[in-house]
């Protein structure tokens, strides 16, 4: 080949090469950009659940934090908590509703108007009937449980008792629908029997999200496993003994994000291997949180709540307490109950739960709740002399049945600590471990033989009614299924609770603050000891960690991975 042709050929080759390189780099840049964009929106969020598995993801049967955490990602609510950090995330704002409800002058009728264009994950429209169906399933006697009764929904709604088969209709429900809940097109009207100041907050519970109007009733404990939903995600697969998979709902166009393309939850994982997987970035986080034995290590390794950090600690709405059975034996005595508030060590009980487990508490209401005022009535460390002087003869030689969860190492250690402290106070303690896996069954049964038992409460909704009235109104006591584990029923206190529940605004806050103090100084049916924290560790792929105080965990739909 002649030189000039060689040169031409060389230049041509170089040109082709440059073109190829430019194209490749362009593709790579584009790919990198796409990868970065993918990190912003996309990827699979891999989650373990070492606390066990979901009780159920059926919205009207779910009643534990982890269930609600997932339902928060899949449900479309009339009003909902935005995915924001701190107090901004605790203010409910309209989601499916165009605005806050119109409330009648007498406070008994709530009207919601839905936005246009709302759809379920299967493409079908969301109408007011979707929300009406939720009310029916939370109260229907055809469901495995009628959880709406626990929050008094059957008495609050017009026609509630006739539908649920309670009150005057006990065992004989007479209606197929709740007459007080009316749905027409995109308008939902709810008629109440009385003014319920916390009703708007109540409807932000996961029980009241949009469900298909033909979603069946079920008497299965785990409910309906898979169904179309209208939130940022929907349940694509649900094996409670294996994997639960959430996929992005392409029909959701609301304000809530859905960053990960898919959320893959592995149930029933081992907590120790789960922590190893997260440290190795094979899994992104564990819904069961960080076991007590790992908290100190992760705090040291990653710091606590650092920006883009990996170890996160957040306060919850949960308060742990030692319930005292006021209907039985030695714990019927108020002086003894007061003495236990001086004699049991709050700090010591918290220490067993590990570093960053919680903050000491000596009252029922928690910080941030309307009506909360720090009381500082009792010490955080045991004051044996004060306890003995308050308890007097009631404490010395008192027989106490100490009931605890024998299957939990942590709770067993707490029980052993309490046994030691109670013995020091002069009581005779009988240890009563529960080893069948049904810890709450005996507690919920009237006539239960325990005197002292660890229990607690997490918010159903942000209102002091949920902490005080739900737990301490003895008129709700039934043969089984009780929440009032103290079996406390005082007519004067009941009347005060009724008055406080009817108030609103500042008056309500003042009334509940007074109830909180009265409970802990005059009746003392419990020993509160901590407001719990939640502790989580994440992989290095997780970004945009937004912690929800309400769900005691991260907003799954807002998490970015990649």
């Amino acid at each position: 080949m002649r030189r000039k042709h060689l040169l031409s050929l060389f230049m041509l080759s170089m040109g082709v090469a440059l073109l190829v390189v430019a194209t490749t780099v362009g593709v790579a840049s584009s790919a990198t950009h796409k990868v970065n964009a993918a990190a912003a929106k996309g990827g699979i969020l891999k989650v373990n659940q070492s606390a066990g598995t979901f009780d159920t993801l059926d919205p009207q049967l779910a009643y534990v934090t982890n269930d609600w955490n997932v339902l928060d990602a899949t449900q479309l609510m009339l009003l909902n908590y935005p995915d924001k950090s701190g107090s901004a995330g605790n203010v409910i704002v309209p989601e499916a509703a165009k605005s806050y409800p119109t409330i009648s002058k007498n406070g008994k009728t709530y009207t919601y108007h839905l936005k246009k264009g709302l759809r379920f994950s299967d493409g079908s429209k969301v109408t007011a009937a979707a929300f009406k169906r939720a009310f029916e399933r939370i109260l229907s006697p055809k469901m495995f449980a009628q959880y709406g009764i626990y929050d008094g929904l059957d008495t609050d709604l017009v026609g509630g008792q006739a539908f649920a088969g309670t009150g005057a209709f006990t065992g004989k429900p007479t209606t197929k629908h709740i007459s007080g809940v009316k749905a027409k097109g995109r308008t939902l009207k709810i008629h109440l029997t009385k003014r319920v100041p916390y009703f708007t907050s109540l409807l932000a519970m996961q029980w009241f999200g949009a469900i298909k109007p033909n979603m069946k009733y079920t008497n299965s404990k785990s409910g309906i496993l898979k169904y179309p939903s209208a939130g940022p995600y929907y349940i694509a697969a649900n094996n409670l003994n294996g994997y639960t998979v959430l996929k992005r709902n392409k029909h959701y166009h609301g304000f809530r994000p859905a960053f990960a393309k898919e959320i893959l939850i592995h149930n029933l994982t081992n907590p120790d291997t789960s922590m190893l997987q997260i440290e190795k970035n094979q899994v992104d986080f564990d819904m069961g949180g960080v076991p007590a034995t790992y908290a100190g290590k992760f705090a040291k390794q990653y710091g606590v709540n650092k920006k883009n950090g990996r170890f996160h600690v957040g306060v919850t709405t949960c308060i742990d307490w030692i319930a005292l059975n006021v209907s039985r034996g030695s714990t019927q005595n108020t002086k003894l109950r007061t003495a236990l508030n001086y004699g049991l060590g709050r700090n010591q009980l918290i220490n067993i739960l590990g570093p960053f487990a919680g903050s000491p508490a000596d009252q029922v209401l928690i910080p941030g709740l309307s009506g909360y005022h720090k009381l500082s009535l009792y010490p955080n460390n045991p004051n044996v002399s004060k306890a003995k002087s308050v308890g007097g003869s009631a404490l010395s030689g008192a027989n106490l049945d100490l009931y605890y969860n024998g299957l939990s190492q942590t709770r067993t250690h707490q029980a052993e600590l309490m046994q030691s402290e109670l013995t020091q106070l002069g009581a005779q303690v009988t240890m009563d471990p529960e080893s069948t896996g049904d810890y709450y069954g005996p507690l919920e049964t009237k006539g239960t033989k325990y005197n002292v038992a660890r229990a607690g409460w997490c918010a159903d909704y942000f209102d002091p009614f949920d902490y005080v009235n739900v737990n301490f109104d003895g008129r709700s006591i039934q043969p089984t299924g009780n929440v009032d584990y103290f079996y406390f029923n005082n007519a004067a206190f009941n009347a005060k609770m009724d008055k406080a529940a009817a108030k609103s605004g500042k008056a309500r806050a003042t009334a509940y603050a007074a109830l909180d103090k009265t409970l802990m100084t005059k009746y003392v049916p419990l020993v509160p000891y901590t407001v719990d924290n939640a502790r989580y560790v994440t992989s290095n792929k997780v970004h945009n960690w937004i912690y929800s105080i309400y769900f005691n965990g991260p907003d799954l739909n807002a998490m970015k991975v990649g």
């Binding site: 891999k46 373990n48 598995t53 006697p141 469901m143 495995f144 449980a145 009628q146 009764i149 065992g171 079920t218 008497n219 299965s220 404990k221 785990s222 496993l225 694509a236 697969a237 649900n238 094996n239 409670l240 003994n241 294996g242 994997y243 639960t244 998979v245 996929k247 893959l264 592995h266 029933l268 994982t269 081992n270 120790d272 291997t273 789960s274 190893l276 997987q277 440290e279 190795k280 094979q282 069948t436 896996g437 049904d438 089984t480 299924g481």
Partner: protein
């Protein structure tokens, strides 16, 4: 041989009936009210009575058992879970491959380790290898499988990063939702640590057993005769010693495969393998009687089948067995 197999088959059927009667009595007769468990928290007495009728609990016991057996044999049905009303048969079908992978794979590993180590220990008694093998035996017998599993997960999976730390991938490739990994390679990778855990548990015992039987067999007259006739050491070992030494090993293997189904729960828990062991724990703690009964029946059948296979293998290995039984 045929007559022997038929006799063993009838014995297996008899054992199956005894096992199912025991399971039914334990879980449906003794508990005070299975219908109440099935009915749920808020169930009224009317609902409980209705469910009792649906579950045939209002019939005489022998009729209840007959229906239970008929459903099992004729329809292959083991009932429905109280918790999620899914067929128990389906749950077992889903979980059994995981446990089978663990048990059979573990058995292959433990035999592959214990046979050569046991033989070498027997051929070189009181050597360093023999003593090391005995220390290994002691650790294997003493250590809890949970501890072994966690140590392996930490050292090999986490520190060295040589294997996945936990989880299970099905052997058969699948693109179903809720199956994040599958295929032979992924299955094998994810099963290495569980197999090693299982292997260490049982290999320890088998090394000791094989060592003892080989030493005993080597002192037999027929072995001395074979040597005297000029057979090489290798030939003596393979043709004469091993075949006779394996008889007790085969017997124990059959029993251990059945027991291993129960022991698998620890390994399944550590490595988050959703097998029958873990399913059994979940069902037992949530009072899900049909699932517990179903797994128990399945395990009984598995043990009966394994022992049947062992008996036949035993008869094949030793012709004297078929003639005398």
């Amino acid at each position: 041989m045929t007559a022997f197999v038929i006799r063993r088959l009838f014995w297996a059927i008899f054992l199956f009936l005894v096992a199912t009667i025991a399971a039914y009595v334990l879980f449906f007769i003794i508990p005070t009210n299975p219908a109440a468990l099935a009915a749920g928290k808020a169930a009224t007495p009317v609902v409980v009575k209705h469910i009792s009728h649906v579950m045939h609990l209002d019939l005489p016991i022998y009729q209840q058992y007959w229906l239970f057996l008929w459903n099992m044999v004729r329809h292959g049905s083991l009932g429905y879970s109280f918790v999620n009303q899914l067929p128990v048969r389906g749950l077992i079908r889903q979980d059994a491959p995981v446990t089978m992978s663990l048990v059979f794979g573990g058995a292959v590993f433990w035999l592959a380790l214990s046979i050569p180590v046991g033989i070498i220990s027997a051929l070189r008694p009181r050597s360093i290898l023999d003593r090391s093998a005995m220390i290994f035996v002691l650790i294997g017998i003493s250590a809890h499988p949970v501890w072994i599993g966690l140590i392996l997960a930490y050292l090999i999976g986490y520190r060295l990063g040589l294997t996945p730390i936990s989880n299970y991938c099905p052997l058969v490739p699948s693109h179903s939702i809720g199956v994040p990994c599958s295929g032979p390679l992924q299955w094998f990778e994810h099963m290495i640590l569980p197999w090693m855990t299982f292997m260490l548990l049982f290999a320890a015992l088998y090394v000791r057993l094989i060592r003892a039987t080989v030493i005993e067999t080597m002192s037999e007259d027929f072995v001395r005769t074979a040597r005297a006739k000029g057979a090489s050491s290798g030939r003596v070992l393979v043709q004469h010693v091993l075949r006779n030494s394996m008889l007790p090993v085969v017997t124990i293997l059959g029993m251990d495969l059945g027991l291993a189904l129960g022991g698998a729960v620890f390994t399944e828990t550590v490595f988050s393998l959703h097998g029958l062991g873990q399913q059994l724990i979940t069902a037992a703690t949530s009072d899900d009687l049909p699932v517990v009964t179903g797994i128990l029946v399945f395990a009984c059948i598995a043990v009966i089948v394994f022992n049947f296979i062992v008996d036949v293998a035993y008869a094949w290995l030793d012709p004297r067995i078929r003639l005398t039984t």
